[in-house]
Symmetry: C2
Subunit: 177 residues, 2 copies
């Protein structure tokens, strides 16, 4: 094997294992957070994204939620059956179908967000020592730059502080941010 | 909701979505890499870890591989049935059971490592622009510090360049690094 290949494998391995470690921790904490609401992680993420957008297409949900289109569709259908969202057309776009929260869906989502407790989110807790030292939370600019390569700019925009809130004003309006 | 809670949720969301995006990409590329060998990701990781350690306990595999003990055990058993590894005692430690690769297991693992192609690993490709700018690959020190909080120091040690290779000299000896 070429020297470059050796290094590329070690570097890829490091990134693979770091990503797995982070995601497995997040997955566990996220599941525990929403378990009392009888939602799984994909269902909760769908409600969250649909709410941020005041209605999101299945394709929006798939790309912002880093899930397969079929996953986004199937879990949206389940949520529809529970009366938490509806599939409908938007006034300004009659061609595409959008997932919109029902009143019940909104109430449930807000309740989950209200009880979010950072004490139980280990990746948050693990960031506190960095904040202690630098006076602010890390920005992960290297990681963001890699993820920008993997997904599109919209994906990044959803958590780039200002734009996460401002272009879709629903979170702000609804007063839980 | 308190202002602190709002920020902690946004920050946790960012970390959650970044971690998911990274891991989903890694998972897909890793699966495609080893598919021709009829291995799944956990099986390949078990072979890899067992080889690095010249025999690893189920608990080693679980903690280095960020998998449940039951996952580590069940997939190790499957690999044993295929004749790729054995459960045995070590000369210097008769109490614990160690997973050791058979000759067939070693040959298969080495073959997978030999065909590793960084062109197909998107998180590697996504890192190249950073290397272009800074002259080296990113170190993710913030991420490593968070993962150190989530797991133990051994977990970090497996990919901290020198120690990944040196304390378990098998990779070096076996001439595929």
């Amino acid at each position: 094997m070429e020297p470059m290949a050796k290094h590329s494998m070690l570097y890829s391995y490091k990134l693979a294992v770091l990503s797995k470690a982070m995601w497995k921790s997040v997955e566990k904490d996220w599941q525990n957070w929403i378990k009392p609401f009888n939602l799984n992680l994909n269902e909760h993420h769908i409600l969250w994204i649909a709410d941020q957008f005041n209605g999101a297409s299945i394709s929006d949900i798939a790309s912002y939620g880093a899930m397969h289109v079929s996953t986004a569709f199937n879990f949206s259908k389940k949520l529809e059956k529970r009366g938490l969202l509806t599939f409908s057309k938007k006034q300004e776009d009659k061609r595409n179908t959008y997932v919109c929260l029902t009143k019940e869906g909104e109430i449930l989502l807000h309740e989950t967000l209200r009880v979010f407790n950072e004490q139980t989110f280990n990746v948050y807790q693990g960031s506190l020592p960095i904040k202690e030292i630098y006076g602010r939370f890390p920005e992960f600019s290297e990681l963001v730059s890699i993820v920008r390569h993997l997904y599109d700019d919209d994906f990044i925009r959803q958590f780039n502080d200002d734009s996460f809130i401002s272009p879709q004003p629903s979170l702000k309006q609804k007063n839980y941010l």
